[in-house]
Symmetry: C2
Subunit: 330 residues, 2 copies
């Protein structure tokens, strides 16, 4: 800290103010201090114990949507790890809005969290570089960071989707639909890539009317499903890109007078009790959260090496809906 | 603030430190300041704007379980209201542990939240009195506060359960089971009271083997359900006390070779797609959250009157499982 103060030409108290996001520092001075920090590689986690003596450690979790059931077990796992380390978990959600993600992440930094676990909504995280340089531990989960080098813990969206679609192909389907989230979301793009790879592996050209990406609200998903399920050559199977899509497509299929196969990405509660049971590509949300949080605390302990991307496998669970044969041509 | 400082015999800065939970105040001084605050009815929300100029407003939400789907829409609604008021939402969960609830609520106060929305795990909230006296706005939701006078926004657990059980009675059932959460949880006790009231209204004496309260983990709930569904005089209908219980009882019923009626408290996703559909007493989790958060911001605006208890109605949704007739006696 003394070196930072000397290099920036300010007092120790000013460095402390900048690091702890306290008021009373002009933008110009803050810039000088941040440059000195960046130049010297000053890590807040080394000094944080002293600077923030007496405070409870805390970590922030930036979620996408507090109401999406996929994030429930993930949040709980992050909180459990935080608790094992005596830290408080503070979280909030971006509602899939990159500006809101940035605002929330920086507000958490201003409140002096020791680290951040982020499910990113945006694809440019350079805004976090000063915070990371100042020692805020950072791990991305579910989706990777954009334009910065940072730890990420992901599910194998590509491989999982490829396996799920290959399972439908193996069951005799050739006209297979894909309904997913907006393509700028990393997981949605990866799952679409998995769909295309499985179709290509099977030598099936993809009719672009079988592919629909967009917001996952029930209205949009319902229209997409109804469209690819109607007409002279409807799809005989659907691969759904996440649990929000699956739930709506299940409702559409329940209204049809013919069986249509379904494999969904993400497990869903009660999916085993429906008839047929819902075949899914399950990811382990709790393990994602736990792995990300443990990685974060390793960073805080100064034990982390270079940023890494950890990819967790998915698991195909056959329950009936994905094993339905193609309906005979009409 | 001047009056508080004068009464406590300290400087203004010391009062500010105590109110903002900053270090550098001895316990004895802090006690004197808090006493002066209590005696004078000093409200932090009056002075907070000045004391904390330049900070983002924030409110804390103390949940019971981040992974319970009931709390997803509730949390999101609180966050939406916070956002409408330009405030950040910080939350964490108590895991149904009163000590952890207290630790979390006080940690949020130490981080200078402007208000707290609490789903309480404990039944003694006197620990919050100094914070409330110092101006931290406080609203309890889903369950009321214990041993203090505070705003609470609740669902009509008693009336909802009574209606649901009366619906089963009207369908011809007399041997009706009740499986609920631990009796020290307010909602669980109220729903049991509703069950007993409906049975009494119908002149049906309750066999205590039909009633089972305890943790909602699948193992305990499964054993309770299997027990009341076996023997020479099994129940012909079950009322489940919350969505966690309902999900497990649905699995038990799916394995039976006879129809058993079910009405569950809380709606559950995909409950409409099961056969039969799941009849529920639905509460509006989003409205609970929104009402509580709006009440909190009214307190912060100084517009709230004396503490109130607001009770929101529930809604019986008939989908089939609650309309099954009693199986003929064996």
């Amino acid at each position: 800290m003394k070196d930072v103060a000397a290099r920036a030409g300010v007092g120790l108290k000013t460095v402390s103010r900048v690091v702890n996001a306290e008021p009373g520092v002009t933008p110009e001075t803050e810039r000088r201090v941040r440059e000195a920090i960046a130049a010297l590689g000053f890590r807040r986690n080394d000094s944080a114990r002293v600077l923030r003596k007496g405070r409870t450690a805390s970590i922030g979790l930036v979620l996408e949507d507090l109401a999406d059931p996929f994030y429930g077990p993930l949040s709980r796992a992050v909180e459990e790890v935080a608790r094992e380390h005596g830290a408080l978990l503070i979280n909030g959600s971006s509602a899939e809005d990159p500006d809101r993600e940035q605002e929330l992440a920086l507000a958490l930094c201003a409140r002096r969290v020791d680290g951040l676990v982020i499910i990113p909504a945006g694809d440019d995280h350079r805004y976090l570089e000063p915070e990371m340089a100042a020692g805020v531990a950072t791990v991305f989960v579910d989706r990777p960071a954009g334009r910065i080098d940072a730890d990420a813990v992901l599910s194998d969206s590509f491989g999982g989707a490829r396996d799920g679609v290959a399972h439908l192909v193996a069951g005799g389907h050739r006209r297979i639909g894909f309904i997913g989230d907006r393509p700028r979301i990393h997981t949605a793009a990866e799952r679409l890539r998995g769909y295309r790879a499985a179709m290509e592996d099977a030598g099936i050209p993809v009719d672009e009317r079988w592919v629909s990406l967009g917001v996952t609200d029930p209205g949009r998903v319902r229209r997409a499903a109804e469209e690819m399920l109607s007409g002279p050559d409807p799809v005989t199977a659907v691969f759904t890109g996440n649990n929000r899509v699956t739930v709506t497509v299940l409702r559409v299929l329940a209204e049809l007078d013919r069986p249509v196969a379904l494999v969904g990405f993400d497990d869903i509660e009660l999916g085993d009790l429906l008839r047929p049971g819902v075949t899914v590509v399950a990811q382990d949300a709790a393990l994602l959260g736990r792995t990300a949080a443990e990685r974060l605390f390793r960073q805080l302990d100064g034990a982390a090496a270079a940023p890494e991307r950890i990819v967790l496998p998915t698991r195909l669970i056959e329950r009936g809906s994905g094993e339905l044969s193609p309906a005979p041509a009409r």
